[in-house]
Symmetry: C2
Amino acid sequence: MNHSVEILSVGTELLLGDIVNTDAAYLARRLSEMGIPVYRQSVVGDNADRLLTAIDEAFSRSDTVILTGGLGPTCDDITKEITARYFGVDLMEDAESLTRMQAYFAAAGRTMTENNYKQCLTFEGGTVFQNDRGTAPGVAIRRDGKTAILLPGPPSELIPMFENSVVPYLSPDGVMYSLNLHLTEIGESAAEQILRPLMEQSENPTVAPYAGEDEVRIRITARAESRAEAERMCREMKETVLSYGMRDYLYAETDTPEAASDAAAHALIGALQKKGWRMAAAESCTGGMIGNRITAVSGASEVFSGSMVTYTNETKMRALGVREETLSTYDAVSEETAREMAKGALRMTDADIAVSVTGIAGPGGGTEDRPVGTVCFGLCIRDEEPTSVTVHFNPRASREKIRRQAASHAMRMVLGKVRGGEKEGKNYRK
Amino acid sequence: MNHSVEILSVGTELLLGDIVNTDAAYLARRLSEMGIPVYRQSVVGDNADRLLTAIDEAFSRSDTVILTGGLGPTCDDITKEITARYFGVDLMEDAESLTRMQAYFAAAGRTMTENNYKQCLTFEGGTVFQNDRGTAPGVAIRRDGKTAILLPGPPSELIPMFENSVVPYLSPDGVMYSLNLHLTEIGESAAEQILRPLMEQSENPTVAPYAGEDEVRIRITARAESRAEAERMCREMKETVLSYGMRDYLYAETDTPEAASDAAAHALIGALQKKGWRMAAAESCTGGMIGNRITAVSGASEVFSGSMVTYTNETKMRALGVREETLSTYDAVSEETAREMAKGALRMTDADIAVSVTGIAGPGGGTEDRPVGTVCFGLCIRDEEPTSVTVHFNPRASREKIRRQAASHAMRMVLGKVRGGEKEGKNYRK
């Protein structure tokens, strides 16, 4: 027994490999940042006996167990019942959960069924974490030196509940603050090699690199008595990190999980708001991903005019005014087409700046001249001539990864242009 | 002890959440398809004592344990040594592995270091699985009714080794097949309540409901001697499930994880291909998500013309020809605007059918008349007059969930229209 946390994920869909256990990775990373060791993660199915055994085993190794999943309304959802059985406590109605759930169903115009009711049950003497994104509240119980924390499985519910309720529950003394530095055009191993001495000597704040699909993120986490102090410590460490030769790669900073999950979109919206500009896109291989990522952020409507997703040559001509001879002479995947697409996007919208993307995301469609991963970009400010560039992404990457990298690249091109030379980093100077 | 397999993943980078355990999900899915039950998955770090304990615990529950990771050349890589210690056997040089590794380093023009040598060791009396994609061979040992299979961690090495060497090594007597029925306009708890008697009495095939963000999925899984027989059993059970009053809610069937992850997009592409039609979209609140989801599927280019993402009134007028007076008289979120958007999408593309979406995804922008969650849809076949409908999604759902539900609804509208009355289910008849 030691002061570690064990993660126990419950769900037959995890056990059968229908879904990947991103919850466990998220919790493990955040706990490690909080300085709480995790020595074991486990997955069990929705089976009462095996779950009870797994809980018992977990508490033989750790004094705190975080259980994810199995809080839904169906008879397969047994995590709460089995945890109550392990602790020998009863389940009782939580009035606030019931009120919230009744309001949720009334607003949705649906009838609350009897099996929804069990989601309003909590442990006798337990703690309830309300769920702002779904119907299943989280619950926790502390007894005889053992703590069980039960969280809903969907990441969209688990992540905010962990951040808002579980972090203060686990570390009531002191606050944690994390600052993410988002880097591009450098690999994780290169960043890690350069920063290793700093990572090894830093305890508070801690410094750790993470590889994303299209970026490297350096996460700086400080623990202090106040948020202001933790923030100050992180900003000081940021300057140290940048002085290790990272300044040229920095393109964005974030300090919330939402913004960190798509730093390119968040940074771009911030920069457009500051400049008072609107942007538009013309997308072929990204198929609407640029529009989708930008409009996923609340507040995008101030700065985003739209995106012309043109997947056929005929549509490129009709919706963007790309000339037939450009397509036949240079091909749909060419810088010439990309430039006409960007100009067309400005014509069809009320934007100040437009970016275009046309490329080969694969797996089919590659040629010797234009292998999979070839993507042409156009960039155009109103009343100026468009510019263009061709980027070759790794042809062995998946279709989805190439599309994501291309969309991020397009957004960073607009970001650089909108920012002009006003900030540090080479992407800021583009 | 039973004839199940347990997956034990070894690696501090997994334990700290630096990487997500996709290996475990892959192995679990393939084992389940092979009819081999998996009741537990675990993750431990690169620590000798804790790994030895975890191996011991795993063999107390299952007679076969697949260990992933920790076969590399560094001193952190201890999986082989600790497994040998558990079985009480020695490690010995494998001549073929050594020859292959020497050739690998010669071809790369690099010098083989002493710590690479330990990758050529195998168990006394063990089996070696050669690695065509990297330097670490896989190894297996069977003794006293216990089998340990050690595979390298990188998915690009693990997947081909599993398929080429481990599947024949495990040689199962049966296969498993799963059929997913995708339902809409019914909640998970309602579906579960109706199907509970069937779920409880069914052992092979099994029947289980899963809640998605915008649908309910009923998964039917059968185990049989051949895939054809398992498929036949699933199709028979499907008819039983539908006879429990589910027929009206069914909109798609899938039998691969890829298709199941976005059944609306996959079903729509299949229906368009069958009909020989192209589609287009006009998106406001979904911001490109419809285009993004359709083009995420390889092969979309045959049936998808594009999507006009129009986020401002000015762009709706320029890019779709929506009239100014329609916007001022009826508002951008109105069925009148939705119908003009759908017509405009046909004009700007070479599609046969177009769908439009305009609504309030929130969190801001709601009014008393048009609360958050109000979404208007238009649908138009070339040379016909457009139709429209308004749907009220739950205003308390997240922006992302409302957008996702709206995009799925739009795709299902097109699906119903393209299919006409040719199949069962009310979505097929729309």
